[in-house]
Symmetry: C2
Subunit: 159 residues, 2 copies
C-alpha cells in the first residue's frame, strides 16, 4: 500500500495529537471528515498505526538520568543468550535492550533517578543477570535528540 502526502500528514498529526477528532484532523489535512475517517481507519487496519499511547514526562517521576550499559556475556551460546534475555526483560529500569553485532553483546538503556539510584539498579537488577562477563556503563549528560519517529518517514512524499 502506497501512502500519499495526505496520509503522511495524518500520521504526522496523529503522532502529536493522538486524540484529535476526525473533523479536527480533516481541517489540518484538507479533507472532509468522512474521507479522513476512511483513511485513518485504513492506516490502523494496515498496521501503520500500532497504538495510541500517552507519553509520560519521565522527569516528573524523577527519572532524569539515562545510562547506556554495555554488557558482554561469558559465552554467545544460544542457551546463554536465551537465559540473559529472559531475565533482562524483567528488569524494571530497563527501557531498551539491543542484541548487538561487534564486541559488546548487548546494549541497554536504563533510566534512573540519579547516580546513586543507578548504583542501586546496578546492584539489584543488572548484577543479577545471568551469564554476564563484563558490564560497562556510560552516563548521558544530555539528550540532544529524542524522536519517536524519524523525520524521514514524513518526508517521503509519493503521489
Amino acid at each position: 500500500m502506497a501512502l500519499d502526502r495526505k496520509d503522511l500528514a495524518i500520521l504526522a498529526e496523529l503522532t502529536t495529537n493522538a486524540r484529535a477528532s476526525h473533523t479536527e484532523l480533516a481541517n489540518k489535512v484538507g479533507l472532509s471528515s468522512t474521507a479522513l475517517a476512511r483513511r485513518q481507519k485504513a492506516l490502523e487496519d494496515e498496521g501503520f498505526i500500532q497504538a495510541y499511547q500517552a507519553a509520560l514526562d519521565l522527569a516528573q517521576f524523577g527519572l532524569t538520568t539515562t545510562v547506556l550499559v554495555r554488557i558482554a556475556l561469558e559465552s554467545q551460546s544460544d542457551e546463554a543468550l536465551k537465559a540473559f534475555e529472559a531475565e533482562v526483560v524483567k528488569c524494571p529500569s530497563v527501557v531498551r535492550c539491543f542484541l548487538m553485532s561487534g564486541t559488546d553483546d548487548y546494549i541497554l538503556i536504563v533510566l534512573a533517578r540519579d547516580i546513586q539510584d543507578f548504583e542501586r539498579i546496578h546492584r539489584t537488577e543488572l548484577s543479577r543477570l545471568p551469564r554476564v562477563a563484563r558490564v560497562q556503563s556510560s552516563f548521558a549528560l544530555r539528550e540532544v535528540v529524542n524522536r519517536a519517529v524519524p523525520t524521514v518517514v514524513f518526508s517521503e512524499a509519493k503521489r
Copy 2:
C-alpha cells in the same frame, strides 16, 4: 503531588490506550467516570502526561535496521558541541542523540531500511556533521526490550 495506585493504573492504561474514554478507563481502574475525569485532567495539568501520540510501526515503513553510532569530536569546546548539535538535529534518520560522559562524545540511534541504506545515511547525513573526528557504527541484530516507560514507574505504589 503524590500519586496513588489508581493514578498509576490510569497512566498505565493510557500508555496503552490513549484514546480510551472516561467510562472505559473508569471500569478498568475501579472509579466512576466523574472521578476518573478529574484525575486524568489533573495528571494532564500537572504535566505527568505530556502528550497523546500515535505509535507508528516503523517496520511497515521499511525501517527495520537500528544502528548505534558512536561519534567523537575533534574538540570538546563549547563551540564544537554547539556546531555539532545544531546539525545533528537536522539529520532525518536520527531518532536519538545523547551527549555522553566517557570517551565517546555522542551516541546516536539511527534507523535505516537496511545496511545499504545505512551506507547512504552515513554518506549523506553523518559524514557531513561538523567537527567529527571518529565515527563508529554497531548494528542491532535484534531488539530485546523496547518500552516507552520503565515498568518501575507503575510499581511505585504509594498511599
